[in-house]
Amino acid sequence: MNDILPWLYDSLIALTLLWIAWQTLSTRDLFKAVLLFIVFGLLMALAWVRLQAPDLALAEAAIGAGLTGALLLDAVGHLRVPRRPGPRK
């Protein structure tokens, strides 16, 4: 009864991570996939915190969620704007 709260927290974060990973892989909308990837990075940082690795959590939040997320958002923006006026869109 004493350690039910950490167990609850860990199982909640693990289930949410698996669900986000599945949604990221199976969605058709690219922007939604990128956004879910950013959220996955944030939650993964919280999981590293629970695994007693704050340095990995810092790296995951800065590189995984922040830097890669911003670069992927930039890439999605470039994909949406057609370079030349053509038949696309």
Partner: protein, 90 residues
Amino acid sequence: MEKLYLALAVFLMLNVAAGLLRILRGPTAADRMLAAQLFGTTGVAILLLLAEAQAVPALRDVALVFALLAALATVAFVKRVWYRKPEDIP
């Protein structure tokens, strides 16, 4: 008091899981981005609570990075994905 911190962290994780629904069915792209903003703020709160509950002061630095990067993602979204081309503006 540590138990109360952990209980509030569990509650905030439930909030995050509920906010995921808005990402999955937001009508516009801005709604989805707003849910990511919610995760930034809630993540800061969870990290501060865990820093006190687990007695790891380094987690406050992670919370600082969280607060900074949620805004960075939103700025990248507004400037690069959702902007309007100048010739479209009447």
